[in-house]
């Protein structure tokens, strides 16, 4: 798995962190805030996430559901779906909670390794997110739950996730009540 995240402009990350630290100010943000400074890496056009946020959420989604013998989150178009969901589906409150989670993950990287999350090696990113995920999933009501929930849903409801990773059929045509699992092989017949 190639680590596609090049080091983002750390000053930008920190500047945004300071800017958003108030929390309440988040809802004042325009829905389509773009990164102020052009970044070194071309990010796909986004409606909600800044270029930096898009790189971060893409990396997080790919760490949760990586490419294996089937495509992972990026290969299934999950980051673009998340951007669309945030721009058109999410309430302002949800939008700010998502930004808060991204910030917390970056802050965890800063606190642990003194670097932004995207500056870390893939191995460290994996370790850090695994710990973050474990702690957050065991804490009731952590906003990360909603982020993970949507990443997982977006993947398995994508054509790649549903039909390549799993065994979804739009029109099964028949129902067989008793089939050896080995015959189907995977979930979601």
């Amino acid at each position: 798995m190639a680590d596609r995240g090049e080091s983002p402009d750390r000053r930008e990350v920190l500047r945004r962190a300071a800017w958003l630290a108030g929390g309440a100010a988040i809802s004042q943000l325009p829905a389509c805030s773009k990164s102020v400074e052009p970044s070194a890496t071309a990010a796909p056009a986004t409606e909600f996430f800044s270029a930096d946020e898009m790189r971060l959420i893409t990396r997080i989604a790919d760490l949760i559901i990586p490419e294996t013998d089937t495509p992972g989150a990026s290969g299934a178009g999950v980051p673009q779906k998340l951007d669309e969901m945030m721009a058109h589906w999410a309430s302002e409150e949800t939008q700010s909670r998502w930004r808060g989670v991204l910030m917390r993950i970056d802050r965890a990287a800063e606190e642990t390794y003194g670097k932004s999350f995207l500056s870390l090696t893939p191995a460290r990113q994996h370790v850090l997110l695994r710990m973050f995920d474990r702690d957050a999933m065991h804490t009731g009501g952590d906003d990360y739950h909603d982020v993970k929930e949507l990443i997982v849903s977006a993947y398995y409801q994508s054509e790649v996730g549903a039909t390549q990773e799993l065994r979804f059929e739009l029109i099964p045509g028949a129902y067989r009540g008793c089939v050896p699992l080995a015959e189907i092989g995977r979930a979601w017949a």
Binding site: L63, I65, D133, E149, L150, S153, Q157, Y175, R176, G177
Partner: protein, 558 residues
């Protein structure tokens, strides 16, 4: 002035569709009035949308969610916007009123479970003294059950049970491995109880008649709530209205809200129906020789109460003061769930839009501790899929790989109990509040009685005991308290049938005692609820009443 139509049917749902089919097939020029908008079978459905084609992962935008409770992107088109159609309830007595205001009504939103009532049900009121006696018995309606089942297409398994008569069945759907095992263990533990595959209005072996209407076999997608382009499950749009259209005797007017029935005291007849155009808010009158109210239990009662005249100051055909009274719904919210160790190597293929059914046994083959009547259970066994990943810790290849395999087996049981008639459970017209068309809103005052609550408690105990006896683990009951009435979406009883014009509104032909050319054939007519899902009975009642209305018209008696 000659009437414009032979028959006017108010409502195009389960009952209205059947009334229209039977009336038109008997040569009557029939007008169907529907308050909701037109929906085109197939074209207006979302059942071919793959998960990745539905907007926003099939979720309603968060800021709109309060406007469309219980809806997804795929079902939003069959849901009303909250606040568009208000009704009132007393503060401490909630009633949930789910409606489907579009052509086809709730026949596009139903769960398709189709069960016959038996003489145990038709005799119950007379035997234990609650409510009034049904003016019919099973033999009166049995041929009509045959008739509607043959046309609709009901798949199921004959079991020879006195409390759940067998019908005209298409081949039954399969139980899965664990359901078969559960059936074995349950029937050993409780020799007089039975687990059978759900009897559902899905075609499994299409007849010529069904194929001719463009209907085909179930494709096991389980997208029924989006509408079925294959016409596999029975709805007004897939079956009855197309059949009625073929006669060339059918006229449909949508966006027409039933306001009142017009009454002529000189002839003691209903002469037509006043409607309000939902778009322009203007009133119109349609005239006909016979009027069928099929606007749902609360809707039909509302129209009757709103049909005031010197002869009927409290609403048409209401000399008994029973119109709007005895509102019932099935007692619901009981049941249990659990998990099962085993069959990890077994799965199923296809998405079966059906579960199993445990027919009533209380006060049939087994006594009840402290209540009359009884309940049945619907349920199913399944394995979870990727959805568990949404709340599961873990990331990376291991996490992804774990979700490839379905999770362990689980079971759910959901009880539906009989609710007793009570004249104080009542629909009235609100004295001051009106809707956006200036019609009086309904006020619904309905609450569960002692027997209903006792029955619910025992249903929970039974559900837990049955699952434990069948070897399930981690068994827990669904909830302490049953849901508020209305939640089962089986509301009925507001214009009940009976022998006596003093205590009931309709006679044995669903004909108003007071006004002989007025018929009510939806859930309003029900003298008791039984515990079976009621739609099949509404179908049979509607077809039977339409047959008799046509006969009476021919004979010149109405």
């Amino acid at each position: 002035m000659e009437p414009e139509f032979d028959a006017i049917v108010v409502g195009s749902g389960m009952s209205g569709g059947w009334a229209a089919k039977e009336l038109t097939e008997r040569g009557l020029k029939t007008l169907v009035i529907e308050r909701g908008r037109h929906i085109e079978h197939g074209a207006d459905y979302t059942d071919f949308d793959a998960p990745w084609e539905l907007p926003y992962l099939n979720r309603i935008p968060e800021d709109e969610q309060s406007l469309y409770p219980f809806a997804s992107q795929a079902t939003k088109h069959f849901r009303m916007k909250a606040g568009d159609h208000p009704y009132s309830v007393p503060e401490d007595r909630p009633f949930r009123w789910f409606r489907g205001y579009h052509l086809g009504g709730r026949s596009l939103m139903w769960a398709r479970q189709s069960y016959r009532m038996s003489d145990i049900d038709f005799e119950a009121n007379k035997k234990d003294g609650y409510g009034v006696d049904w003016p019919i018995r099973y033999q009166d309606i049995a041929p009509w059950y045959d008739h509607v089942e043959r046309f609709a297409g009901i798949s199921g398994q004959a079991e020879g049970l006195e409390q759940l008569p067998d019908g005209v069945f298409q081949p039954a759907m399969e139980l899965n491995c664990l359901e078969e095992e559960m059936k074995k263990r349950l029937e050993v533990a409780y020799p007089t109880r039975k687990l059978t595959i759900g009897r559902c209005a899905h075609i499994t072996e299409a007849t010529e008649e069904q194929l001719d209407l463009g209907r085909g076999n179930c494709q096991y997608r389980s997208y029924c709530s989006r509408g079925c382009s294959f016409g596999s499950y029975f709805s007004s749009l897939s079956a009855t209205l197309p059949a009625a259209r073929l006669t060339e005797n059918l006229t449909i007017v949508t966006d027409a809200i039933g306001h009142s029935v017009i009454y002529d005291p000189e002839t003691n007849r209903a002469t037509g129906v006043r409607i309000i155009d939902s778009n322009t808010k203007e009133g119109r009158i349609y005239t006909g020789r016979v009027v069928f109210l099929c606007a749902s239990a609360i809707g039909s009662a509302q129209i009757m109460l709103n049909s005031m005249s010197d002869a009927f100051p409290t609403g048409i055909a209401n000399s008994s003061d029973m119109v709007g009274r005895n509102l019932m719904d099935h007692v619901s919210g009981m049941g249990a769930g659990g998990s099962f160790d085993g069959f990890e190597d077994m799965y199923y293929s296809g998405r079966r839009p059906n579960g199993f059914y445990i027919p009533r046994y209380r006060n049939v083959t087994e006594d009840a501790p402290d209540f009359v009547r009884g309940y049945g259970f619907q349920g199913g066994c399944q394995r979870g899929s990727w959805e568990r990943g949404r709340g599961m810790a873990g990331i990376g290849a291991d996490f992804k790989h774990a979700l490839r395999t379905p999770s362990g087996w689980s079971v759910w049981l959901s009880g539906f109990g009989e609710m007793l008639p009570n004249p104080d459970n009542r629909v009235t017209l609100h004295p001051t509040k009106t809707d956006q068309w200036g019609m009086a809103q309904v006020h619904i005052d309905c609450t569960l009685g002692e027997n209903d609550k006792k029955l619910a408690r025992q249903a929970n105990l039974d559900a837990v005991a049955m699952l434990e006896a069948a070897g399930f683990k981690n068994v827990s009951a669904r909830g302490e308290e049953p849901f508020a009435p209305g939640s089962a979406i089986h509301e009925m009883g507001t214009v009940r049938m009976g022998h006596d014009p003093k205590t009931s509104v309709l006679n044995k032909y669903n004909q108003a005692h007071d006004v002989p050319n007025l018929f009510v054939t939806d859930g309003a007519c029900m003298t008791s609820t039984a515990c079976q899902n009621p739609s099949l009975t509404y179908m049979a009642m509607s077809a039977r009443a339409a047959h008799h209305a046509a006969e009476f018209l021919k004979a010149g008696t109405i």
